[in-house]
């Protein structure tokens, strides 16, 4: 049995401890904002925060989150940085198909939490693990700068 919290709510998992956190969050907890894209940490659609760090939940076993707090898109936008990222994403109409955007925003929140004034290079480094096949990258970059400005 694994005990962890998701968005501050205690959860237990008594199935396969090797099950990726992604499927626990989606299929067991029922939060579907975190997406399945590749299953091998190549696309970042499954990005969540584990004790504040952006991780790929598709390759992180539930067991690795034991005793820790996982934050997903549903909750991330309620804090100051998350709210700013969400506001900028909406202001600039970043989304197209939208499937990767939860993961993009989770990576952006993690970036802005540790770096209040990221430059383009910082953004490249922090965001290049998140694939967007609609190629909304121009706006993702602009929205991160916009959110940084709003938070300053």
């Amino acid at each position: 049995m694994t005990e962890l919290s998701i968005n501050g709510v205690k959860k237990t998992h008594d199935g396969d401890p090797a099950m990726p956190l992604l499927w626990f969050i989606r299929d067991e907890v029922g939060l579907t904002g975190t997406k399945f894209g590749c299953g091998v940490a190549q696309c970042g659609a499954c990005t969540v925060h584990l004790d504040g760090n952006a991780i790929r939940s598709c390759v992180t076993p539930v067991a690795a989150a034991a005793g820790k707090n996982v934050v997903t898109i549903e909750n991330a936008v309620t804090d100051k940085v998350g709210a700013a990222v969400q506001a900028s994403w909406r202001k600039l109409d970043v989304v197209q198909c939208g499937y990767c955007q939860s993961g993009q925003m989770m990576s952006a929140v993690a970036l802005l939490t540790r770096n209040k004034t990221p430059n383009d290079e910082d953004i490249d480094v922090a965001m290049s693990g998140n694939v967007c096949r609609c190629a909304t990258y121009v706006r993702i970059r602009a929205a991160i700068h916009d959110a940084a400005k709003a938070l300053a």
Partner: protein, 758 residues
């Protein structure tokens, strides 16, 4: 995906820029009638569609449903019913803009929902049935949605006039407020929803649409995307997110090669995985689906574990076993010989006999996977007398018909619930409904074994990547000639590749005299003034399904045409813009975007130097789906041959710009999608097996590789045309021409890969 012209065999007259595909074509409408036996009614706005609905809405709490496209609630909500799929291209926002403009609604009160499968109400006049593709949504629906809005407005006004006892002509509507100034009366839509429903639906000829000068939403930036909110808080629902009571998840082991069959299955280890419910064999539908074995479980992970534990022996005796080298060798041999004639102007052979200068080139284009972020999936709830499907549904009518055939029900017993698609780029508009066939076949087989539960079929990324329905590989062999003055006098193109339409229900509408127009579009109908032009096609028959991929034939034809034109310009000693200008003298819309892109990019001025790098600028112009796009790319290449596309300046003419910001976004995204393809993407075969399985091998474009993009929209009052696809095909040749300008190297085999380092 560009089915529209093909369904009617519409080939724009190459010599007449005024020729356009008609908005409604009888033979296209006939398509589904003849193939499926479905009675198709085309809805020409509210009158034909709504008598039944208007009568139903008399109930006290019922919302005002003036037509098939609008629902106005007593709570003052305005819901636009979208007959097209929202897969990222901004269609929901476009449709809402059109209806809200004529309704004079407040943008904030408007929301959008996907329409169910119902070809009587929701057919796409440009496709024949209900479906999304060919960048047709705005072209098809702009008058229909505006009329729907205007009609609803008239009924609200009539209701207000009746209650306030004032002339309807004195009532104004602004931002969702109905007002009679003289009597100082005003009301919301919600307050009149019930009484408006009792008003007669205005006759079509009585509906007056706004003059463009009176638009408040169309063409403005006051219409942010309607899907932005749900897609930034985790609440947007995609097929992957559907969860039904008792639902099982299916993960499948697919045959590794097309045409392979199941020899034997050892289910023991799969059934031993805790939580596995059943193992279901799903035989191939030859030419449509691969043979597969599905593992059913209560969650995705368990189903995948079960799938991975299956031991399957495949019979590959009838499988596709070619390798990529064999394929290109075969295609290149073919383009050395005359093929089926796709277009002839003048006498190319004579013109090419003794030109002052001859330029020849052979281009190779690989198979490409669409690779949308959401791997393919489908939810099916099959019961004795009904079948409900949840899907990012792009081809409603065809899929409904095909699903009905698979499960043995009538099409009207199949309900399709349209949800957001996590990308498609053409993949969900399957010409053979392949994943619908697989999901419904699985549901049927499971039910036959006593499994009575809704099933969510989930493809892993590798199932998607190796699942066929690729952009077909092509070879173009081009010979062109210039006279002494550098004038282009003759052009011969020979193409070899698979047909998208052949062997599908669309063949009879898209293949004419042995030529699938999607194979040659962009070449056979080139608008360049080439007096002597010969285009020939070799259609290769492989058992490997191919499909439209964002901008279809233009994905390869624009590259071949526009890089060759660039070569010819250089051979003629002329500036590439000036060379094109001469050849496009009678094509005002091409010229306009060409000039605009050149001007905005600073064409002719030196590029800023970057230490240690060679820089170059290249241009390309191409028309697709009746939209005109020119792009200028600026690149830099370091000493190791590493290429960076620094900036792309894009000019687009898509007629009336309904949502300028959506157009801009589609150009940005289309450029990024096209860039990934030409720089990095290819599907290759090793003895028939697809080599690439995930994003590690089929490498997508990442944020650090995205250029700065500048988009300029040509102001136009022409009919609106699509923007989902036309930005994509132009970037490849623009970049290739910029690379030539920088380092003098022509790339003719895609993707670029590391060819610049060699």
């Amino acid at each position: 995906m560009g089915i529209m012209n093909r369904l009617a065999g519409q080939t724009p007259n190459a010599d007449d820029s005024s020729t356009r595909a008609p908005l409604i074509n009888v033979s296209r409408r006939g398509f589904l009638q003849t193939t499926g036996g479905l009675a198709l009614g085309i809805c020409f706005g509210p009158v034909a569609c709504t008598s039944e609905k208007a009568a139903v809405s008399a109930a006290d709490v019922a919302p005002f449903v003036p037509n098939a496209f609008l629902r106005i609630g007593a709570d003052n909500s305005v819901t636009v019913i979208a007959k097209f799929l929202e897969m990222g291209q901004g269609t929901f926002t476009g449709l809402a803009t059109l209806a809200a403009e004529e309704l004079d609604a407040d943008w904030a009160q408007v929301s959008v929902e996907g329409a169910p499968a119902d070809a009587k109400k929701y057919a796409n006049s440009l496709l024949g049935g209900q479906g999304t593709g060919g960048s047709t949504a705005m072209a098809d629906a702009h008058l229909q949605m505006r009329t729907a809005g205007a009609s609803a407005r008239a009924m609200l006004v009539a209701a207000a006039a009746e209650q306030w006892k004032v002339p309807a002509g004195e009532i104004t509507v602004t931002k969702g407020v109905i007002r009679h100034a003289a009597s100082r009366k005003e009301a919301s839509f919600g307050q009149f929803a019930e009484s408006a429903a009792k008003q007669p639906v205005p006759a079509a000829e009585a509906i007056k649409l706004k003059e463009p000068k009176d638009f408040t939403l169309i063409g403005s930036t006051a219409t942010p995307r309607k899907d932005s909110k749900a897609k930034t808080d985790g609440t947007a629902i995609f097929t992957q997110d559907i969860k039904l009571d008792g639902m099982l998840v299916a993960v499948l082991a697919h045959a590794p090669k097309w045409g392979a069959t199941i020899k034997s299955v050892d289910e023991t280890a799969a059934r031993a995985v805790a939580g596995v419910i059943d193992v279901i064999r799903v035989d191939a539908v030859p030419g449509t689906t691969r043979a597969a074995v599905a593992v059913l479980a209560k969650n995705t992970w368990v189903a995948k574990q079960g799938r991975d534990a299956l031991v399957i022996e495949w019979d590959e005796s009838a499988a596709f076993t070619k390798g990529s080298d064999d394929i290109f060798k075969e295609f290149k041999t073919l383009t050395g010989k005359p093929g089926t004639v796709a277009a002839t102007r003048g006498d190319a052979a004579a013109a090419l006999k003794k030109p002052a200068k001859a330029v020849e080139a052979v281009y190779e284009f690989p198979y490409l996977s669409h690779a949308p972020m959401e791997p393919l999936n489908c939810v099916v709830d099959l019961k004795a007398d009904s079948c409900t499907i949840w899907n990012g549904e792009q081809f409603h009518t065809i899929d409904q018909m095909v699903a009905a055939g698979v499960v043995g029900l009538k099409p009207e017993q199949v309900t399709i619930k349209q949800v957001y698609a996590g990308g498609s780029f053409g993949r969900r508009a399957s010409s053979k409904s392949d994943f619908i066939v697989e999901a419904t076949s699985l549901a049927k087989a499971a039910r036959a074994k006593g499994v009575e539960a809704p099933i969510k079929m989930v493809w892993m990324r590798e199932d998607d990547m190796r699942g066929g329905y690729y952009r077909p590989a092509f070879v173009h062999a081009i010979k062109a000639g210039l006279d002494r003055d550098g004038k282009l006098t003759g052009w011969q193109s020979r193409l070899a590749g698979q047909s998208i339409a052949k062997g599908t229900p669309l063949e009879q509408f898209m293949v004419h005299n042995g030529v699938d127009h999607t194979s040659v579009e962009g070449v056979s109908d080139t608008r360049y003034a080439i007096d002597n032009l010969q285009v020939e096609l070799h259609t290769v028959d492989y058992p490997l399904p191919v499909l439209w991929w964002r901008s279809v034939g233009h994905t390869h034809s624009a590259y071949a045409m526009e890089t060759m034109i660039d070569e010819l310009a250089h051979a003629a000693g002329k500036d590439p813009v000036a060379f094109r200008r001469t050849l496009l003298e009678k094509q005002p819309r091409h010229l306009k975007v060409l000039e605009l892109a050149a001007e905005k990019s600073g064409w002719g001025t030196p590029l800023a130097e970057i230490a240690g790098k060679k820089r170059g600028r290249g241009i390309a112009v191409h028309e697709s789906f009746n939209t005109y796009v020119a792009e200028v790319a600026e690149v830099s290449i370091d000493e190791d041959g590493v290429l960076k596309v620094d900036r792309v300046v894009c000019a687009v003419d898509c007629g009336l710009a309904i949502n300028p910001d959506v157009i801009k976004a589609q150009m940005e995204g289309g450029i990024g999608y096209g860039l990934a393809a030409i720089l990095k993407s290819e599907i290759t075969f090793d003895k028939g097996a697809v080599v690439q399985g995930n994003f590690g091998e089929y490498t997508p474009l990442r944020i650090n590789e995205m250029p700065v993009i500048e988009v300029h929209i040509v102001a136009s009052a022409e009919k609106p045309t699509g923007v989902g696809e036309p930005g994509t095909p132009v970037v490849g040749p623009a970049v290739a021409n910029a690379v030539y300008a920088a380092v003098g190297k022509r790339i003719r085999k895609l993707p670029f890969g590391d060819q610049l380092s060699a």
